[in-house]
Amino acid sequence: MTSRPFIQFNNFTFRYDSQTEPTLIDINLTIHEGEKVLILGQSGSGKSTLMHCMNGLIPFSYPGEIKGECLIQNQPSTSLSLFKIGQRCGSILQDSDAQFVSLSVGEDVAFVLENQNIERSIMIEKVKEATSKVHMSDFLTQVPFQLSGGQKQKVALAGVLHDEVEGLLFDEPLASLDPVSAKAAIELIDELHQSGKTMIIIEHRFEDVILKEVDRVIVMHEGRIVYDGDVDQLLKLSLCSKYGLREPLYLQALKTFNVPLDSQQSWAFLSSMIIPAFDLPALRPDVNTQSNECVLSFNHVSFQYDERPLIQDVSFNLYQGERIALIGENGAGKSTLAKLMCGILRPQEGNIMLLNQESSALSIAQIGQKIGLVMQNPNHMIAKQSVEEEILFALRLRHKDEELIQSKLIEVLVMSDLKPMRRWPVKALSYGQKKRLTVAAILALSPDILILDEPTAGQDYAHYTEIMSFLESLHKKTQLTFIFITHDMHLAMEHTDRALVLSQGKLIYDGPTFMALSDESLMSQASLRPTSLLGLAQQTGHDPATLAYHFIKEFHHGQ
């Protein structure tokens, strides 16, 4: 490794003009050329602001007050320009869709070259070279609407790879990716690092990033750097929970089972760890919820679009009070299934029974009173300006009696812990509060089933915990049937009892969640990535299902 500094912060403090308090406080940090650095921190810790300082958006796009200095290859960033910084250090933003500004892969990769007024013949060669580095050469004429999130991200990466750029900055590169694409992204980042580039990765999905070795981890908290060292020490000092980060699952499990770990060895790679033997009680079958009332049943349901079968012969029964995980890779048919449940799409074959009523006889609005759909992005759902108005919106559409409306409003506000904020404007809410508001607005309709589409997507561990514990307590209070559509295997494991696994429109598994996630062949058949619990089970010789079962039980008990 060379020791030439790539980016250097000296006593750096930054305050946005729009804020009274500084967002970054007294940052001292040197990142050397060729290093691979992971910057961790929960939302609001200042890590995105730090990234803006590294890519020049601060000070060139976001005005603010700077104290101290930020040097990029020994030159103060203020003396350069956005363009000059971009030539040394390329940025890949979190929103892979919005940063795709052109209309085809080739054009988007060429975008930076177009802006430099480079001749087309040279441009074509450079585009070819950059796309081959990210393995996207066969996609040059594809339009953005045909690409997955992971592919768009590779395009963004290729777009800044020209001219032997020295360093690459990734802002939460895994935020919108499913587990398999996330693994591919991490491998690609590692491949580029091997070719000698400086890599700076900002993430909170800690366990996913450290699949491949990183040289250094920096933890940000409340605008300051609170840790700067290797992965191993971070894990051993148990700093994750202190700073709102999720510990790798295998470590969580080992701690839950009180397994003493040798602190001489590295804890960063499960496969190289020596773990003392530990005992687990035998697996006991769960209480059967299937004696409850059947709330929703699919009978041989098929649906196709443009002669492409999206759902093929799917049958299942859901019972009151169950917590279901609907899992499967992108395009497996999860959202089509949810749309069929809500009546937005209607089955071409088979039938759907909703509380012993034929769903085909009901309108979307009628089904909506029984099945509530909470969309991934709260902004897609909130139609009104204040908390109260938002909840009242659907109530007023359905009821005339003002007294009933008011009592329902209070009930829902209390249930979702939003009562103190009832007159707040929606704008003033945090992401977690907005999520609660969307759930509250649906609860106002007194549904029997709640479908939650990726309720925690893109959220850090603190927000994840906030949202999920709210949903847990809601489930205890109401005994509604919850259906989680998710990529997050941790969520599925910790918060659901039963899993429906879809692959290419077919239901390939219906049974206890911990069994599904412990079944390696099922996971690979569904193109899903098992959690590190499976690896832990294999390494310690335990039955994966038993291990998972006891971990979840103990884990919940501990909470």
Binding site: L57, S81, L82, S102, I367, N379, I382, A383, A394
Partner: protein
């Protein structure tokens, strides 16, 4: 969202016109459209109508979209010329040197040969401009349009705003769809058979607030993405889609110049030297 939705092509049309460069197509269409709009001469308009019909058929446009827009346009225009005639049954005489040759009566109004000619030419002219526009829309991608506009010395920033708009239309449509679904599920009835059109319009406006808010969020990211990749760093920029001109490009460019000369001299002649000249009619 697939290709060819909502009239926008995101992939170049495989036909002759589709493969031409943006810097060939945009000036060509600009000149042809000007020719149609500036003249009332059927000898110019008719060949353009014929050519644009042929061109449209080579582009193999989506039949349903084509049919719907065709019907809409024809109906609108028929109404337009009928209104013209109702307002002044002698409208043709004004343009044809004051002659008045009655053909027959409709109620107590007279339809003259001159008015019939004038209104027919007017109809064909507007229909032709519509056809030319259709050919343009179906044969060009937003990127080619941006490159073409830049070749006409439109500032690259403005050209980029146009192509960015097209880039995000399908995404915005998708957002809108999701919001609509969410509100429908919460009881907002938007079914055409259950709600009258005015009420439906009002309810769709309810959707606009969250829609605008999500769109504004996107603007910041897009702006950053543009800045970080050096957009606007230099006054001029090149275009990845702008291929080296082929023989077809050169020929069509020549044709554009020829048209430009023809049209310009004709327009200048008609509008300056001979402003009182009557419009051409086959019997005169």
């Amino acid at each position: 969202m697939a290709n060819n939705t909502m009239l926008i092509n995101f992939k170049p049309n495989p036909s002759f016109l589709g493969r031409l460069n943006g810097s060939t197509k945009v000036p060509l269409f600009a000149v042809v459209l000007t020719a149609v709009l500036m003249s009332f001469d059927i000898r110019i308009i008719a060949p353009i109508l014929l050519l644009s019909s042929v061109a449209l058929s080579t582009l193999k446009p989506n039949k349903t979209i084509l049919k719907a827009s065709m019907i809409f346009f024809v109906v609108l225009n028929v109404i337009n010329i009928i209104l013209f005639w109702l307002v002044d049954p002698n409208v043709g005489s004004f343009y044809l040197g004051g002659d008045r040759t009655p053909l027959f009566n409709v109620g107590n109004m007279v339809l003259t040969q001159e008015s019939l000619w004038y209104l027919s030419v007017r109809f064909i002219k507007i229909f032709t401009s519509f056809m030319v526009s259709l050919v343009f829309i179906f044969s060009i991608t937003p990127s080619q349009l941006a490159a073409g506009l830049a070749s006409l010395k439109v500032p690259p920033k403005i050209a980029a705003i146009i192509s960015l708009t097209f880039r995000f239309i399908p995404d915005l449509a998708n957002d809108f769809q999701l919001m609509k679904i969410s509100l429908q599920a919460r009881g907002l009835e938007l079914d055409a058979s259950k709600v009258n059109p005015l009420e439906r319009l009002k309810r769709n406006i309810t959707l606009l607030i969250p829609f605008l808010l999500t769109s504004f969020n996107r603007v910041e990211v897009v702006a950053n993405a543009l800045d970080l990749r050096g957009f606007g760093h230099q006054k001029k920029r090149t275009y990845y889609v702008e291929e080296p001109p082929t023989l077809a490009d050169k020929l069509m460019k020549g044709l554009t110049w020829l048209c430009l000369f023809g049209v310009m001299s004709y327009v200048i002649y008609m509008n300056t030297l001979a402003p009182t000249q009557d419009m051409w009619a086959f019997w005169k």
